[in-house]
Symmetry: C2
DNA sequence: CGCTATCTTGAGAAAGATCAACTATTGTGG
DNA sequence: CCACAATAGTTGATCTTTCTCAAGATAGCG
């Protein structure tokens, strides 16, 4: 996620540490302008679980996995949208990911799930036992490699989100989110996408409040960067959204 | 990371979605109080790379991997402390992890490293080619499994940090950080640990400013929850640190 | 068509950031 | 071993962003 944040914002700059210049060059590129990895490359396991497991229908809002549930299965979203999240006892919650058709979750679990999974919309999901995954991994070298790539991608995606949550402003978070979603969701004729999740989910994904999410979006609309009618959103000026357009 | 945050704060609570109650129970535990996974279980690969690769000495502050470097190697910290981080062009930076002896980084890379790695202190690191890892994975089923567990742990660790960055207050972040570090670093006789990283690194790890880190720590000291003299820190009241002691 | 959810908007409060000294610690050369 | 410079850490005053609380507007659903 957030792979589609402005590539130009990620760049090596001299550290604040004096010792930076010392000793032998271990990194192959000393001072190098880096760009983020390609936006959408988490399809390593796409189609790999076809035919295994059993599919289930879940209603909007229904819990698929509870925090603390025994982790014996992983899931692939066939249709609809799912969120993984952790809830704190005081009501705060943090969404880890939004999962769309083809996305898999719960692969990383061992022991018990630390994050719950809930249906954002009515959804169809395929449940696959982790022992099946184990088996596939042992017997199919190509699957093993794809699985490994998939896990590595999850790590990178989570770390990208760390940067967003730790160091981005509300406006930047929203911009990154809209770019991410417009890349992952199917756009209609007019280039608009229907966000499956509500403002509250977006807020919990970005570490903001509902009100801040709403205000930032309204602001982008006012400046003609996006158009929005409820959950229907179109990006009008991708350039501006992806650039440092320090709103306000 | 943050595995040692108050387990009691992580709990399932009824969602805000009306539809929560609907349909069949897919999750084995409906309403369940979940606790976080065991604090320190990232040792899956500990010792597995002994004998492979070559070790290198790096000076304090030296860059080991640059943002955008070709990802052909991973690294194990033998001695010292390393940080992985991403720098934005405007100077903001986000530390992803602090790595201590036995910890491995760069395993998740493919293509190019999105995060830089820099020595927090003078350090000894072992460099292992990723093709060597590939080879080991293919030839040693036990290694493959350990590697997979390791990657899964990294995912969970990153997601735990997502909760901290997105939904915790400055005081909670600091408390969680101190608990994490006191668990990972060797304590002296008096139970004190010497933090290898400076306040700026801590700030970049937690998404705060240096000043806020300093203030929170001073506050904890004033309330006799910790003792601190520069980078030497001892936890005096672990209970209080791990509980909702909403400072301020 | 009305009810409920969700979303938007405004005003005030608060957490944390910023700017600016000032203090302490560490490391170095005389 | 001390003095000094450099780095790191603390503290205070003020400002900004985001949150909170509250009300009103919209939209979706039965």
């Amino acid at each position: 996620m957030f792979a589609s944040l402005p590539a130009s914002t990620i760049i090596y700059s001299p550290g604040r540490h004096k010792a930076d210049q010392e000793a032998m060059p271990l990194s192959s590129s000393g001072t190098c302008i880096a760009k983020s990895a390609s936006p959408i490359d988490n399809g390593y396991l796409r189609g790999r679980l076809d035919g295994v497991g059993s599919s289930v229908e879940v209603a909007k809002g229904q819990e698929i996995v509870g925090q603390g549930d025994r982790a014996d299965s992983c899931f692939e979203v066939i249709h609809g949208c799912v969120r993984t999240l952790q809830r704190l006892e005081d009501g705060r919650s943090q969404v880890s990911e939004f999962l769309l058709p083809g996305d898999i979750f719960g692969l990383d679990a061992s022991g018990e799930h630390e994050f719950a999974a809930e249906a954002v919309t009515a959804a169809t999901i395929r449940r696959v036992r982790l022992c099946t995954i184990d088996l596939l991994t042992r017997e199919d070298a190509a699957f093993e490699q794809d699985l490994r790539h998939h896990l590595c991608y999850q790590i990178k995606a989570a770390r990208r989100r760390l940067v967003a949550l730790g160091r981005m402003t509300a406006a930047e978070k929203i911009a990154g989110f809209l770019l991410e979603m417009s890349g992952r969701l199917d756009a209609s004729e007019q280039g608009a996408v229907k966000l499956p999740m509500c403002r509250g989910d977006i807020a919990d994904y970005l570490g903001l409040t509902i009100e801040t999410v709403s205000r930032c979006m309204t602001d982008l609309k006012r400046r003609n960067v996006i158009s929005l009618h409820g959950s229907l959103i179109a990006i009008l000026d991708r350039r501006l959204l992806a650039t440092k357009e320090t709103l306000h």
